[in-house]
């Protein structure tokens, strides 16, 4: 709502909006909610592709859980924690559950931009994104149950609470901080959580051999590419919907800056990885697209066309340097989530202060710092409490054998081992694990 105020003269619009405009606005916003939803498929495929085949079921399970628990908790507490209405600017809560009166379904609710229900759904799709960013960085070694507890609390409480400071009309929005679609609120919040998680877990076994970096290649570059293209598609809704109406001028401009930044990020990451490593690296080029998208997300509505290319291009170089740097300091992030979402989220937010004429760099920096400090403390408290109770990391043997078998007793890929005759029936009451073992043994002939 607040963002709409920056784009269009809303008080005038509320008076003038016709039933047709209201419908068009609302349809656009629901479509954008669907596009943001598709981003979760993008994350799922990207993370599957960038990790090893023995952990694919586990990755997909986490992604399936996050979007589901994210929507449920956002309905239960998140929406009213993030948008408490009138509040002290720091913490407010408008009560459990979601409900609206007749006015919530008319143009009176949001200056004709959308209904209450659309508002909830669009924001719910965003919420789950912050937690899913963490999933990639802690992949291939975190205990499933521990991750589920973290993700639930992170998406239910942390994300909406800090989000209220800006999008809920809290103290940062009063201070003039600008974060159009969430370079900071969504991406850096997820990125800080990812950084704390990856740091507390330590690197995967085999990532450093005798102190030397030994890359662990992803299992499926086609899946990673599909994931990044789905994320780019989803960003049409992520940024396009953040206009909070189908305003022709606002939406079309934002989609152009968004796509230019993504393209510039890709080309910049291609060039810099080619220059640094001597060969063009596809995974870096894909990260470059995401880097450009995360970078432009804070200022897609207020920076110029050329600025968007510069912001995306710088993000593309930053992401390559950041991936290499985090590898060097032994923060193991299998998918590059910290570099994409944290490094470029911070860059994009600061870039608003550099490129948008009426935005203050100092205020942008203050917002970045406030979100960084708070999220790091919260994520550390959550991970530390989970570590002390449930434990964070799977056993060494399980990590080497793979979390698919260890956590789920199943594999993601058949690999020609199963199918019909390869399987043996398990006596009722027996654990599923031996069935898999039997299947492997009989198929190795």
């Amino acid at each position: 709502m607040l963002l709409a105020a920056l784009l269009v003269p809303t008080s005038a619009m509320a008076d003038e909006v016709t039933a047709g405009q209201f419908t068009a606005n609302n349809v656009w916003m629901m479509l954008c909610a669907g596009l943001v939803f598709i981003m979760h498929l993008g994350f799922a495929t990207l993370e599957s592709g960038m990790t090893r085949a023995k952990n694919t079921t586990n990755i997909l399970f986490k992604n399936t859980f996050i979007i589901s628990i994210g929507i449920l908790t956002y309905a239960l507490v998140g929406f009213n924690l993030m948008y408490p209405g009138e509040f002290n600017g720091f913490l407010g809560f408008a009560g459990f559950g979601i409900a609206t009166d007749e006015a919530g379904l008319t143009p009176a609710y949001a200056d004709g931009g959308y209904t209450y229900w659309t508002d909830f759904l669009f924001q719910a799709m965003f919420a789950a994104t912050a937690a899913t960013i963490v999933s990639g960085a802690v992949a291939e070694r975190i205990k499933l149950g521990s991750f589920m507890v973290f993700a639930t609390l992170f998406v239910a409480l942390v994300y909406p609470w800090v989000g209220s400071w800006q999008w809920g009309g809290g103290w940062l929005s009063e201070a003039g901080f600008h974060d159009f679609a969430g370079s900071t609120l969504v991406h850096s919040v997820g990125g800080w959580g990812a950084l704390v998680g990856a740091w507390m877990l330590g690197p995967r076994i085999g990532k450093y051999v005798n102190g030397r970096l030994s890359p662990i290649p992803g299992s499926n570059m086609p899946l990673a590419a599909v994931g990044v293209f789905l994320l780019w598609l989803g960003w049409f809704g992520f940024n396009g919907g953040s206009v909070l109406s189908a305003d022709p001028a606002g939406t079309s401009f934002v989609l152009v800056t968004t796509c230019l930044a993504a393209a510039a990020g890709a080309v910049a990451a291609m060039s810099s990885s080619w220059f640094i490593a001597g060969k063009p690296d596809l995974s870096m080029a894909l990260n470059g697209i995401l880097a450009g998208l995360v970078g432009i997300t804070a200022g897609a509505d207020v920076v110029g066309i050329l600025d968007s290319v510069v912001i995306g291009g710088v993000a593309g170089v930053l992401v390559v340097g950041s991936v290499i740097l985090f590898d060097k300091i032994k923060i193991d992030d299998p998918v590059g989530a910290i570099s994409v979402h944290l490094t470029c989220g911070v860059w994009g937010t600061l870039a608003v202060g550099l490129f948008a004429p009426d935005k203050s760099f100092v205020t942008q920096l203050m917002g970045v710092a406030a979100y960084g400090a708070t999220t790091v403390v919260c994520a550390f408290a959550l991970f530390a409490a989970i570590k002390a109770t449930l434990g964070l990391r799977v056993g060494e043997e399980e990590e080497i054998e793979g979390l698919d078998y260890g956590e789920h007793g199943m594999h993601a890929y058949d690999l020609g081992l199963g199918g019909g005759g390869g399987f043996s029936a398990v006596p009722s009451g027996a654990r599923p694990a031996p069935a898999v073992a039997t299947q492997l043994a009989t198929s190795e002939q």
Partner: protein, 113 residues
């Protein structure tokens, strides 16, 4: 009877198959294997860092033939799979005690023809 077992570069499979057909081999089995010899793997790049791939993908081609055909089969294979560069692979010949054609129950050389 002898089993001729060749470890070859994967892209040489078609050449090897045709060469074997020309000298009269009636069947063969192929499996994907990984390994290294004197060449000791090679290095690859991932996200700006180099790493060594110890086990390179190869194909293992197996043919079981009567004793008198071993020489022409091995030379045809060696010629077809050769690039002259390191990593071309190796051919092993081992004795085979018996063979059974499952459909008819024929034994020995008769099971091969």
């Amino acid at each position: 009877m002898k089993k001729v077992e060749a470890i070859i570069k994967p892209f040489k499979l078609d050449d090897a198959k045709e060469a074997l057909g020309r000298v009269g081999a009636l069947g063969m089995s192929v499996s994907e294997v990984k390994g290294f010899g004197r060449q000791k793997g090679h290095s690859e790049l991932y996200r700006g860092a180099e790493y060594i791939v110890d086990f390179l993908p190869k194909l293992k081609l197996e043919v079981v033939v009567p004793d008198d055909q071993v020489e022409k089969i091995t030379s045809a294979l060696a010629e077809a799979a050769r690039t002259g560069k390191i990593g071309d692979g190796k051919i092993f010949v081992t004795p085979v005690e018996d063979a059974v054609r499952i459909r008819t129950g024929e034994r020995g050389d008769a099971a091969l023809s």
